[in-house]
Amino acid sequence: MSDHAAHAAAAHPDTATGIDSRKLAIWTFIGSECLFFATLISNYLVHKETWLTGPGPFPHEAWTSPAGKVFEPIIEIPLVTLGTALLLFSSLFVVLALANAQRGNRRGLLLWLGCTLLCGLFFVGMQVYEFTHFVHKGLTLKTNLFGGSFFVLTGFHGTHVSIGVLWLFTLWILAWRGKLTADKSLNLEIAALYWHFVDVVWVVIFPVVYLIK
């Protein structure tokens, strides 16, 4: 912490593009992740017509069990809408945290970063609840291709959210100890970029999985 000049130099790099290498790297990684989620979403969509049995996200005439039972649609839109809204708000909170970090306002930083973390935790909790609920209703990975592609897609998204929560929590601890000073706000900016990306992936997943029939 003694060498502020060195850190200031690191925060305002003398690179060929004028962009800090870490910021360019996280964007590069995000670009690559676009293809990761695009492939998972494709996998969900190409199997949309091939769910041999229920339960599914919406009613379907083919989805009757051998005993003639019609499967009820399984998705609970209100709960997921709440999770979606909170994830969107967490994006707002993390930019507010960043704005405070850049101004060196430790209290504001701790507050907004804390709110971000709570939203992220709620989202993960919502997903755990949803997954458990689906399993109770008889939908597992093995049940049908909706189960498989749904759990894999949303599960990998949830894993990304969890990693983001761990990352932001680490930064929150640093901020709490007074180590996330204004000249090191780039550390938060990079984590925030990752967080926003995970958020926009959900912006795509939400209508594709939960709303489109």
């Binding site: 060929a16 962009i19 290498s21 690559s32 199997h47 093995k142 291709l145 894999v152």
Partner: protein, 612 residues
């Protein structure tokens, strides 16, 4: 977060003595040492893949041969393909990215030195992971392409496919980490004045390769994840009886697989585009056309994947589209070939070994390219699919192209890497044996394929007219192998000789030749300023003569990154975690949790240690 330094330790200010000993290699973050590690490891795997090929050729040398069992044959051709692609050509290219790119752009290291070390260690673990399967007698046996549903639990109940699945997953992490690193390095660490359109062409082609890696590898990652779920957790993504579709695997695999072939060839394009001008004493003909044709090839590479799948019956519209776009690729490739010829045309050609291999590359790659255009036509492709004609085609582009290019690069940059020039006479023996051996091995495959000899089959009956050419191919394979024996002997002899290579043995045009051979740890004592595309030639022209030999300096006051073993710990954790998934039905979640804990421990220590 990779280089976040939360503390700061003053580096020993006095002149740096080059550290030695095995610990210095384990903890190294120097891009040159990592490049040498990549090259050495990959060359070992290359020799293994070569031995696998020789065994295959012995088996096919005579009809109804029982030298190999069908099972072993399947394992050998699968591991030969997987090894050569993921453990030989890609990492040998990575060796050149590591060693050469920072030198060509006038940088002291890559953007993230520890991430670079991490990439190497993960690559090593992935390679070992794949090859450990031999010790369990369970080497992957479903082809490097691993078509579903042969890879399902039902048809491949053993752990063979699991080694392949998780081995590739580990290697993918190495490739992605390296790609992020080099993408950032090329954009951000260029010396003052080195605008994008002044970058050496090898750096350009490598840069494009990183883009391909970044966009293609996530797709195979997901395809492998889906396979993992099918095999371990009972999903049915590729299982028709569960509503799934084996064809989806083929689509995802080739969406990755076609960019992958450009990942394999573009670095070689770059290497020979460096060699041809230097040994023709002329600037590269059509620099801008070379750059843009490279970009165009890479871009089109994402839109042609289904030309590997004409035989699956995709319908007339898809067939027409993929056929046309595939044929379009011939245009930028042709632009490149004519520009290479234009570079050599009228030059005062120096017949040195790197130039031999570069010219050999052009000739062999043209043959491979022409048979490629033949496959682009669906009716012709239907005849050629699954025959030796295809085997001939991709060996002409992968061996005649990539390997010729990489060997050319090895001879060209050897003096810079090791301070010793490889022997010219042995180098030419290497070239001629390789050229003759290669053509004797692979050219007859065109004829055998058109005569209907199927590939991936462990033997063939006598009396079909396949005997003579197959025997000839086997002889050719041993000539080819002997060329690499000459190469090894050349390396050994050179190693024993004095370390006396000058900084600029070939009258080079690019920045790497302006510094001592081998370079000192910090590469450039003073960061160079660039005014054009061939900075060294311009400097020589200004002086009207050769530049003075650069002095080795003490490096006082030059700041170097600290060595670190956390990248290795993190790589070990990652590998343990993957092994944990593979053994989940035996260990429960504990293997994954243990590996994950080691990985997290590594990451946190890495992030919070002083980067230097």
């Amino acid at each position: 977060m990779a280089t976040t330094a939360l503390g700061h330790r003053a580096h020993a200010a006095a002149g740096h003595a080059e550290p030695t000993g095995i610990w210095s290699w384990i903890t190294t973050v120097d891009h040159k040492r990592i490049g040498i590690l990549y090259g050495t490891t990959a060359f070992m795997f290359f020799l293994m893949g070569g031995i696998e090929a020789l065994l295959l050729r012995i088996q096919l040398g005579s009809p109804d041969n029982t030298f190999l069992s069908p099972t072993t044959y399947n394992e050998l051709f699968t591991m030969h393909g997987t090894t050569m692609i993921f453990l030989a050509i890609m990492p040998i290219s990575a060796a050149f990215f590591n060693f050469i790119i920072p030198l060509q752009i006038g940088a002291r290291d890559v953007a993230f030195p520890r991430l670079n070390a991490f990439s190497y260690w993960v690559f090593l673990m992935g390679g070992l992971f794949l090859n450990v399967s031999w010790l369990f007698g369970a080497a992957p046996d479903t082809g490097w392409f691993g078509y579903a549903n042969l890879t399902s639990r039902q048809y491949s109940p053993g752990i063979n496919v699991d080694f392949w699945l998780f081995g590739l997953q580990i290697l993918g992490v190495a490739s992605l980490a390296a790609a992020v690193n080099f993408f950032t390095t090329v954009l951000n660490l260029r010396a003052p004045g080195m605008r994008l359109m002044r970058m050496p062409i090898f750096t350009w082609m490598s840069f494009i390769t990183q883009v391909l890696l970044l966009l293609a590898f996530p797709v195979i990652t997901v395809a492998l994840i889906l396979l993992m779920f099918d095999r371990f957790f009972g999903t049915n993504f590729y299982v028709p009886s569960g509503g799934g579709d084996p064809l989806l695997w083929q689509h995802l695999f080739w969406i990755f697989g076609h960019p992958e072939v450009y990942i394999l060839i573009l670095p070689a394009f770059g290497i020979i585009s460096e060699i041809l001008p230097v040994f023709s004493r002329k600037p590269l003909f059509g620099y801008a056309a070379m750059v843009f044709s490279g970009i165009f090839i890479a871009f089109l590479g994402f839109g042609v994947w289904s030309h590997h799948m004409f035989a699956t019956g995709m319908g007339p519209i898809a067939d027409t589209y993929f056929s046309l776009v595939t044929m379009l690729i011939a245009i930028p490739t042709g632009v490149k070939i004519f520009n290479w010829l234009g570079t050599a045309w009228g030059g005062s050609i120096q017949y040195k070994t790197p130039m031999y291999f570069a010219l050999g590359f052009i000739a062999m790659f043209i043959i491979g390219g022409l048979s490629g255009v033949m496959h682009a036509s669906p009716p012709a492709d239907l005849q050629q699919t699954d025959t030796y004609f295809v085997v001939a085609h991709f060996h002409y582009v992968m061996f005649g192209g990539s390997i010729f290019g990489l060997v050319a690069g090895a001879y060209y940059w050897w003096p810079k890497m090791f301070g010793r020039v490889l022997n010219e006479r042995l180098g030419k023996w290497h070239f001629w044996l390789m050229l003759i051996g290669f053509n004797v091995t692979f050219f007859p495959m065109h004829i055998l394929g058109l005569n209907g000899m199927p590939r991936r089959v462990y033997t063939y009956p006598a009396g079909l007219g396949f005997e003579t050419l197959n025997l000839l191919e086997t002889i050719g394979a041993f000539i080819l192998a002997s060329s690499f024996a000459v190469f090894l002997y050349n390396i050994y002899r050179t190693w024993r000789g004095p370390r006396n290579a000058p900084a600029d043995p070939w009258n080079g045009a690019t920045l790497e030749w302006s510094i001592p051979s081998p370079p000192q740890e910090w590469n450039f004592a003073e960061v160079p300023v660039v005014h054009g595309r061939d900075p060294l030639w311009e400097a020589k022209r200004e002086r009207s003569g050769p530049l003075p030999e650069p002095a080795r300096v003490s490096g006082e006051g030059i700041h170097l990154p600290n060595p670190s073993y956390w990248p290795l710990v993190t790589a070990l954790g990652l590998t343990a975690m993957m092994a944990g998934v593979m053994l989940i039905h035996h260990l429960g979640p504990w293997g994954i949790l243990a590996g994950g804990a080691i990985m997290l421990f590594g990451i946190f220590n890495w992030v919070f240690e002083p980067a230097g």
